[in-house]
Symmetry: C2
Subunit: 384 residues, 2 copies
Amino acid sequence: MSRMIPAPRLLSLDEAISRVVDSASRLPAETAPLLSACHRVLAEEIRLVQPIPITDRAALDGFAVAASATVGATSYNPLLLPLRAISAGDPIPPGSDAVIPLNLGQPQPPDAVECVQALAPGENVEVLGSVAAPGALLSAAGTQLSPPHIGMLIAAGLVSVEVIRRPIVRIVVAPGSATTDINGPMTRALVERDGGVVADTVTVERSQQGIRSALGAEGVDVVLVIGGTGPGTDDHAAAALSKAGELAIHGVAFRPGETSGLGRAQNGVPVMLLPGSPAACLFSYEMLAGRAVRRLGGRDPALPYRSRVMRTARKIVSAIGITEICPVICSGRDMAEPLPSFGETGLMAAVAADGFVIVPEASEGHPRGASVTVYLYERSCIGG
Amino acid sequence: MSRMIPAPRLLSLDEAISRVVDSASRLPAETAPLLSACHRVLAEEIRLVQPIPITDRAALDGFAVAASATVGATSYNPLLLPLRAISAGDPIPPGSDAVIPLNLGQPQPPDAVECVQALAPGENVEVLGSVAAPGALLSAAGTQLSPPHIGMLIAAGLVSVEVIRRPIVRIVVAPGSATTDINGPMTRALVERDGGVVADTVTVERSQQGIRSALGAEGVDVVLVIGGTGPGTDDHAAAALSKAGELAIHGVAFRPGETSGLGRAQNGVPVMLLPGSPAACLFSYEMLAGRAVRRLGGRDPALPYRSRVMRTARKIVSAIGITEICPVICSGRDMAEPLPSFGETGLMAAVAADGFVIVPEASEGHPRGASVTVYLYERSCIGG
């Protein structure tokens, strides 16, 4: 029978966050084809090589004309000009230097267009290099590419880009009494949300030897061990990590998630210890491990939720000495109503809530009507 | 040589949006394994079958005790009780009915724990069914599943769920003079962002016959035709659709994107016409086609951007009679500074902007300092 690990001394959440972020350095770059680079993070800035546009071209759909031929045109004095229909992006034909917008020119088939407004030379024309000159910054290093970036970079002549490699994650599940693994699939979904790739999910026996055997994985950037972090006689995660590497943190003053830990395997790979209780696993990931995954992949380690200052609809009670994550539902424009805690209702609170409030260690909560920062779950959007 | 399509009569953007949304009905359900259901949209509500928890269990890591044995315990009068370490989620052992939290109990090896606070019976214990009773609503129909939903539904005993089928999209590119296809890859990334699956991207000759040949695809839910929507002599998209089905809309009063169209192929599949100019293609997708893709897949057809009311740092000028999408960059907490228009700088504006303002048809713009709603691009988050 193994000796029990004594109850860990709790580190403050802020200190633990900074240790987690420091443990994870941005991964090196790799080349990705632009066609599959959406949502990837640029490893280097991209500057323009050719001017945009590369020739004088129509800025919008309409009719190419010589501006000098439009002088004097008004709705009282429409002028008939040669019909040269042109689509946005088409090169300006010889002899033209302006474009009548679609809704201001009336074609008079077969070969004329009615012009009711004088144009200046160059009007509705993109002159060579007028959008951007060679050397202009297209995208800064660290940019997460969106669909318009993909279009813009193809337009600039690129076919591939240097992006930060995706972090490769091993999930090690050391189940306790539960028969069904809730944490593995949930954590996989969290890792994928944060741009990571789950190399494998390994279920091990909840023994020191079982957990140790899974810590030495090669070819992964971070190992997440779920379960066995508590003070029970079958909680071996911390002991396994201190034997098979280095246990730097065990016990963080936040709830749910206070038995979280952090260290490194012998091969130097960061190892995060997440509690096996599902709500604690979720917030251990959100508050700590997820920051490492995002930072490894070049993303912002901050919480991936937008926040809004709202008012509490009821008192929020919290223990002094420990940061508490409190689920809330939102009503009206700015009221946040506390729900029963994650400790009381577990994942139900995460599913029922619109977001959560973080009550810091030094606070015993918030009175009714207090201003609080609410981190909001996105409902019905994004993904991909 | 074919006859030119006359300049289209422009429909208001609001009317076009409601026609696009009406053209797209939510797709039927399919069964998805929970392990791959993250970000999918539930087709039906899910109610609990078994109680949660299914047995009395520890609500947090700590020490199981009989509450009656803690009566009188204070920090001045610590009581030594039998050591029964317990992890959150573990069943409460016989003879215990409360749990001392980890940070309030001090183990005294080998077999005692020091208790400094009296507990009530049931304290830190989740009683059978106390979180949720059978029949409780876990997730409403239409919910987009997040990682905690996956965990919660596995905990509730599910292995698969009924979700709305992903919309299958055909992209048809009818390139004009441009040699490189910018729009196909950009639109694919947009469709994937919105939960759609691009079945294929077909490049066709920009002729009526070329475009018609690609409209009759079977097994797809919507066809996006990009290019050939303008008034030029080689703009055949609208004519092709009216010959090979029904052209319901051609010409919408918004910019960029005013030559957008909508109809149906002969087999009843909705067909969206998007202009070939990249910025117009982007906003034709954002303002119109994307709503169809999202609605087909059970998502909210509204713009997938969060919005914030901000003040204009400079005047925003816009033409009356046409809705204009104006790129802005944000400074400070709430200032929105207009950038050169999409018409002037194309996709550069989309890449440089922090978001955009929609100036309605009836407005000629906003003076400096006016309140405007800014739709904000997400920077460095989400994806997945």
